[in-house]
Every structure is written in C-alpha cells, then in structure tokens.
Amino acid sequence: MTPPAAVPTVSPARWQDFVQLLKPRVMSLVVFTAATGLICAGAPIHPVMGAIAILCIAVGAGASASLNMWYDADIDARMRRTRGRPVPAGRVQSADALALGIVLSLFSVMLLGLALNWLAAGLLAFTIFFYAVVYTMWLKRWTAQNIVIGGLAGALPPVIGWAAAAGQAPLDAWILCAIIFMWTPPHFWALSLYTSEDYAAAGVPMLPVTAGAAVTRRQIWIYSLLLIPVCLAPAATGLGGAAYLAVAALGGAVFLLLAWRVRMGRAGDAADPRVTDGLYDVKAAARDARNLFAYSILYLTLLFATLLGEHLLGGAAPGLPGGLT
C-alpha cells in the first residue's frame, strides 16, 4: 500500500469538513443510546430539557471525535478507511480540529451542567476525557486490549442520559452501560478480522495483529458468551419487559450462532491474493466475521429500540413510570 499522496494545495475548509470531524454517524448512535437512558429513567423532565440534554451529549461525543481526529491524523493517513478524513486529507488544519474539540467539549459540559445537573455534566466530561486521552492517546497505540477498555467511552452515554433526567445513576443505568461495554469487543474484533492489514500498516496493535486471527476468534466467542447474560439482565431487574426479554433471548441466540461460526471458521487467517480497488472486499473466509459485525449492530439497535419502545408506550416494568412527563 502506498502512503497517501501529499496534498499539493490546501483547499479552504468548508463547514461540512468540520461536521465530518464530529463523526456524525457515531453521534447518531450516541443520541440513540443516550435517549434510551434518559427515557428509561422515567423521571419527570420537560421534553425540551430532555432534548437539550441529548444535544449536549451528542456535541460532547462530537468534540471527543474531533480531538481523536486531531491526535490520530498520522494513523488515519495510513488506513484506507480513514485517510479521506479532513485532517489527513489536508482539508482542515490540525490545530483547527484541536480547537474545535476543546471548545465544543467546554460548551457541551458547561451547558449540560447548567441546564440539567452536574452529575450528568461530570459523566460527560469523564467520557470525553476517557475517549480523547485514555483511549486515543494511550490505549489505542499501546495494547491489544485498547477497544475492550476504551469501549467504556462508547458505553457511557445511556448513563449520562439517565443521570441528566433523574440526577442519579442507579444499577439499571449501569446495566445499559455494561451491555454496550460487553458488546464492543466482539463487534470491533469481528471488523478487525477483515481489516487487520490496515491496522498492521498503521501500527495499531489490534488483537488480530498482535495475537493472530485464531486468538481473536476465540476471544470473540468468549466475549459473546459473556455478552448475552448481560443483555438479559434488564429483564431480571424490571428495566425491560416481556418484549425485551424475547428480543434479547432470541436475538442473543442468533448472536451466539454467528459468533460460533466465526469461532469455527477461518476468518482473518489468510491474506486475500486478489488485489482490488474495493475498500474492504469480503474474503470468502471472512464472511462469517462480516456477518457477525453487521448483525452485532442490528442486535444492539434492537435491544435499545425495544427498551425505548416499552418505556415510551408504558409497557415497562411495574414501578417504573414510562416516558417523558
């Protein structure tokens, strides 16, 4: 793979480039999970204040993404998936990405604190710090456990949403956090099984790069086994109802089936001799990993959508008032 061509002339940054620095697709996932936490809290909160809380959490997530793109520009430039990002492509100055990240971090945390409460603001500040500093600057380049530990940053938005609505973060909020936390390793390792060449080229110690595909497949299976009981926990605590239990159990069975196929397959084993222009062509052996990766997104979405639906429709467990008031 050749390094990206140097940008001969730096075209002026457009506002869309700055939006791209915020990773809008990740922000949409954060909005979804934070809104689930906020609504599941069942606390009386005005819809406008709820929307402001979600906006602050989303902007905070975008700020941490901008800090990530500022720091990781060297890595991003060496990976096909990321070399078109604004900083490595030369469309946005590195210092501008840093400034945007810092300014939005401060604004989002301060506004969340002033508008809702300081527990939520503190959790948001911790999340930004954890993602931008602990994960991006430290874990990502240092250990193959980077996405296991760093997954906490992606798992916290429902807790922030819950805290914003209720002013506290009880066990149920942390169960939502645990679901995303345990979901992250099989999700990302399935992806890394068919993108490991990029990670190796960029010097990122993802598990398939440092320990090999066989170990990664085994770890995916182990984490999948640990994930499903955590996904069933809301049904035990009363956070989720019958619909949630059905989705978590049946969907979990499919998850385990796909993870088992990865475990018994050869995904990530051999480099594909074909050289094509596609971003990540699905190698025959890697199809199992691709299937698990795609299904993992669907499974998490279904779990949170079901919880959201149950609480909005008032079908939540007894004692938990559903929805916004």
């Binding site: 075209s11 002026p12 940054a13 506002w15 869309q16 700055f18 506004l111």
Partner: protein, 58 residues
C-alpha cells in the same frame, strides 16, 4: 499601458470563487451556531425558572 488579458479577467472570479464560498459557508455556520447557542441558553433559562418566577412574595 497594456490591456488586461481577456482570458485572465474571465477566469479570475472563478478561481477566487471556491475559497470565498468556503469562507462564507463557515461564517454562516458559526453565525448559526452562535444564534443556536443563544436560543438554547434562553430556553434553559425559561424552563429552569418555569413557574418559579411567580413563586415570590408580592
């Protein structure tokens, strides 16, 4: 005195157009962001005070 090159004259505005439009777009985005922030602070103030505005000795 020489007359301006007709080709240069015709192309100059086009060459300058992209940076100009980019800057204009950024300025508009910043303006919208600031206005949005002001509206947010206003809404927060209104909803945080709520009915408490009237809850005082008259």
């Amino acid at each position: 005195m020489t007359e301006p090159d007709a080709e240069t004259t015709a192309l100059a505005p086009v060459a300058d157009d992209a940076p100009h439009r980019a800057r204009r777009g950024r300025n508009l985005a910043i303006a919208l962001g600031l206005v949005g922030f002001v509206v947010l602070v206003y809404l927060v103030t209104v909803f945080r005070m709520g009915g408490n505005v009237l809850d005082r000795p008259l």
